[in-house]
Symmetry: C2
Subunit: 259 residues, 2 copies
């Protein structure tokens, strides 16, 4: 297994950094190859702008088209090209981050915004009246697996089906489905730790054991069964889910999960 | 009316920038005061780190506590203090942004991550076994209104109830409810433009007219009726919505909207 870990926490002595370090050692000790993009340590540029596209930047700037042209020409900036190469090298991607304001920190969002360019992660395949690209199950990163490892300060009950924050599966859906499944990756159920604001050193051994177990079963864990866009479940061109495919009462994001 | 517009697009000639400019002129011509935080033009620092907290930063860094201590001491960085002051000055907040990967661009997420500090936007009020803070309808920004103005490249059908991207209301819920309602703001229904990838100059007059109408009715538009945390709808301390309050069949994020 070849795993890329993208890590987004500023403090090397944080829980997130400990989980990242444990992932590296656990996977390497099991004979796997691991690469790490430690975004804070790298001084990752979080903000997408014209400088990313060099001579491919147009006036006025059009981010999709310009990023696609720079991707095609091989003139994206070296930092972005390096991340795209790591994604193509890896068969497994882990994003390690704390939940800030119910989603990823800005530095990780900026990794997505800048690395997931047009023609690489979207705008791939035929776009016409009868087909809307190779995406949601197909695309550049098809055949690879992805896993979110997330820490949440608040208690699990707040993220339950009736919890005030909304269900964690729904909060993560735009990342799982919109960012990772979109360019073709199979997405594993997330590893989520709750109440980390109140976690103590005494709690860590159990956490570490649970994380090791997830890491050592990455290649046998069943992905979330999202519906592929181009396998018959959706009307064309509306991309509405066809009537009657979902279990009774299922609505919202959950419609796009089979079974 | 005193409106703060936070604008997150790198291109001054973009649709987003045109909508921002139109908001300024429309509101000012109607006699209102307007301030703009043009994040790209300001070179906004998107990444939260120890430098934000100056002498209040601890070792190891703890972002919540350290940001709260720096807020209390008045030692947050000048850029963050200026944004907090603008939020306190304004009675209305507009966030203008393109939907990138189903949420806000990194630079705007970084505005939230850095400006919405502990003791300012969260960690406000009593936290005990019987009360979990002044939030979701109460808090520092209570009594203010907020509106998202969002452009989406893809067609509206993809964001419909059965659309493949998931419903737009659900995609925006973590911002509406998690970021804006959390510190107490009333959140208005969003102004969303779809298929902006294919929009032409000929389409703009109708778009401008619709946006002007929304801007001139900001103070009479009914907010989304999210449920206040501390008004009896939730069990304490689980913060589960009490059984039977929702319309039949309502699940997920929609549970937290009344009626």
């Amino acid at each position: 297994m070849k795993t890329l870990i993208v890590h987004a926490h500023p403090e090397p002595e944080s829980l997130n950094s400990a989980l990242k370090d444990l992932a590296v050692s656990t996977l390497e000790n099991a004979g796997h190859q691991v690469r790490v993009s430690d975004l804070y340590a790298m001084g990752w540029k979080a903000v997408a702008d014209a400088a990313d596209y060099g001579p491919a930047a147009s006036h006025p700037l059009r981010l999709a088209q310009d990023s696609g042209r720079a991707f095609d020409a091989g003139t994206l900036t070296p930092d972005v090209r390096a991340e795209q190469e790591k994604l193509l090298w890896a068969d497994t991607l882990i994003l390690q981050f704390p939940l800030w304001w119910y989603t990823m920190p800005a530095i990780l969002k900026g990794w997505v915004d800048r690395v997931f360019t047009y023609h690489f992660a979207y705008g791939v395949g035929e776009h016409s009246d009868t087909r809307y690209g190779d995406r949601f199950g197909e695309g550049t990163l098809a055949g690879r697996r992805a896993l979110l490892s997330v820490t949440a300060g608040g208690p699990e009950s707040h993220y339950a089906a009736r919890g005030i924050n909304g269900p964690m599966d729904d909060l993560l859906f735009p990342i799982h489905h919109g960012v990772l499944y979109h360019p073709g990756m199979d997405v594993l159920p997330p590893f989520v730790l709750y109440s980390t604001d109140r976690m103590t050193a005494e709690d860590y051994p159990d956490v570490a054991k649970a994380w090791e177990q997830r890491l050592l079963t990455l290649d046998t864990t069943e992905p979330i069964p999202f519906r592929p866009q181009n396998a018959g479940d959706y009307e064309i061109p509306s991309l509405h889910l066809k009537e009657g495919l979902e279990p009774a009462g299922r609505t919202g994001f959950g419609l796009h999960v089979r079974g």
